[in-house]
């Protein structure tokens, strides 16, 4: 059938790493289904496209848009709004779009602190920038003036900028889950299935990672927190019970407990479980509750084993957490 009679599909990346695109490619032959069933109208990673082409499209002319990446710049925001307008179904694709993900961790710092890290000669990580040049939003060159997008003081998941229909969690989402979602959409097109209620999380389970984890579990009491590189954990026993902070208990199932099965802790990329408001709060509360001490001093001591709670419990969800960003980030001039 002719290309333009097929439902239109788009995928765009905001503030993200591109891993989500790779995950889509990882669906192997499913890609062909996408091509077979959809007319891919906009996918900068995969094909050449211009924003103006999208602007030219009719509103809601795109059936499904996978938007991955969070909103860090005015460009991200513009495209999110644009694609929202042009799409029937907007899917927050992957952790960045759904809850901010690793880029969201930048919310611990103010714009200024970030720029110093990136550009400043002294506290910059790897930059050689003797003149301490900073990006300028507007630049007047002899050839004319250039604008680059504004860099916002905080990163936001897209649902704080536009209305989102579905969330597909994961960093990146497991290719199997993506395939399932693609199948679902195709079935819907064929009228063989109905869409789940708006706002629901698709391509993931209802419980948490422990549900899929094969390790044996017991009553938990923790006297000391250790890090996985510090010792050889028992391969069959729950990692948390061994004092390693594993985010499995608070992380939505769907990944098949890949990391714990591979002997690594769950770092929580699938985000909050159903109905949970703040991921970090859950994990923080759970872990501290099972500390095995009744003495304030000793508790302090034990907690030293968690040097970076914010990083540990909000690795993926800081931007979507109740506090959202650190004080310095919030109080940054916007």
């Amino acid at each position: 059938m002719s290309a333009n009679s097929k439902p239109k599909f788009a995928m765009y990346w905001g503030a993200s790493c591109g891993g989500c695109e790779v995950a889509v490619l990882n669906t192997h032959e499913k890609i062909l289904d996408i091509d077979a069933n959809f007319d891919v109208v906009f996918w900068p990673v995969a094909m050449d496209a211009k924003y103006k082409d999208v602007e030219a499209m009719e509103d809601e002319s795109i059936l499904v848009t996978f938007y991955n990446g969070g909103i860090r710049t005015s460009e991200n925001e513009h495209l999110a709004k644009l694609l929202r307008r042009k799409s029937k179904i907007l899917v927050a694709f992957g952790s960045c779009a759904s809850e901010g993900c690793i880029p969201g961790l930048a919310n611990l710092y103010s714009k200024n602190e970030l720029f110093n890290t990136v550009y400043a000669q002294r506290d910059g990580c790897s930059t050689v920038n003797p003149e301490n040049i900073r990006p300028q939003q507007n630049w007047d060159a002899p050839e004319g003036s250039i604008q680059i997008p504004e860099f916002y003081s905080i990163l936001r998941p897209i649902n704080q900028v536009v209305d989102v229909d579905y969330y597909l969690p994961g960093c990146p989402p497991e290719s199997e889950r993506i395939a399932e979602v693609v199948d679902l959409v195709i079935q819907v097109i064929r009228g063989e299935a109905a869409l789940p209620p708006k706002g629901s999380v698709i391509g993931a389970g209802a419980s948490t990672v422990c549900d899929e984890c094969k390790r044996s579990r017991n009553v938990k009491t923790i006297k000391k927190f250790v890090r996985i590189q510090d010792f050889m954990p028992d391969p069959s026993m729950c990692l948390l019970e061994q004092g390693i902070v594993c985010n499995g208990p608070a992380t939505r199932s769907g990944c098949g407990a890949l990391c714990p099965s591979a002997g690594a802790v769950c770092i929580g990329c699938y985000g909050v479980a159903e109905g949970v408001i703040d991921y970090g709060a859950r994990m923080l509360s759970a872990v501290s509750s099972v500390i095995d001490s009744r003495n304030e001093k000793e508790i302090e001591k034990i907690i030293e084993g968690i040097p970076d709670p914010a990083g540990m419990f909000y690795r993926f969800s800081l931007a979507s957490s109740l506090l959202g960003a650190s004080k310095s980030a919030w109080h940054d001039k916007e």
Binding site: L108, S288, S289, I291, L322, G324, W330
Partner: protein, 158 residues
């Protein structure tokens, strides 16, 4: 500076049903005075205190959060307030990381007989937070801001 003196902090206080809430009652019965900046929420036990509540309070405009329960060992539910003690320690550590000043969050043990001590703790905390100044999280916390500018203005009225 002028505003600093004007500033009336909003503090959300969590009390347990058995000790600290009754301490607050006792403070009332014995007409012990303390500043009106604290608004209390009753839980059955300080062990019910979910850190989510604390973050919610801050992101909703509280300048400080007071958590209170029975003295360690005197918990009406045997030993639940020890869990509170542990959660508080980790929570405080994380809040400091998020840029909170010491003193915006405070843990106070008060038995049902310690109305005076409770009032003193509240007074002390209000002073501390007053010195720290407004937190203003909710203004920026659009992420969950159910709040518009007009609301803010209205709020100053009340």
């Amino acid at each position: 500076m002028e505003e600093q003196q004007q500033f009336e902090p909003k503090i959300i206080g969590f009390t347990c049903n058995w000790c600290s809430y009754r301490a607050a009652d006792l403070a009332g019965i014995s007409r012990t005075k303390y500043p009106p900046n604290v608004r209390l929420i009753r839980l059955m036990c300080s062990g019910r205190l979910d850190p989510t509540f604390v973050f919610k309070a801050f992101s909703s405009g509280a300048d400080g959060v007071l958590i209170s329960g029975c003295h360690p060992g005197d918990c009406h539910y045997v030993d639940q307030n020890y869990k509170t003690m542990r959660r508080f320690a980790l929570m405080e550590k994380m809040l400091v990381q998020m840029g909170f000043e010491q003193g915006r969050i405070k843990l106070v043990w008060a038995s049902a007989g310690e109305g005076l001590q409770f009032a003193e703790a509240v007074t002390g905390m209000v002073e501390t937070v007053r010195k720290l100044g407004p937190l203003d999280w909710h203004i920026r916390g659009q992420s969950n801001g159910h709040l518009t500018k007009e609301l803010l203005l209205k709020e100053d009225v009340v």
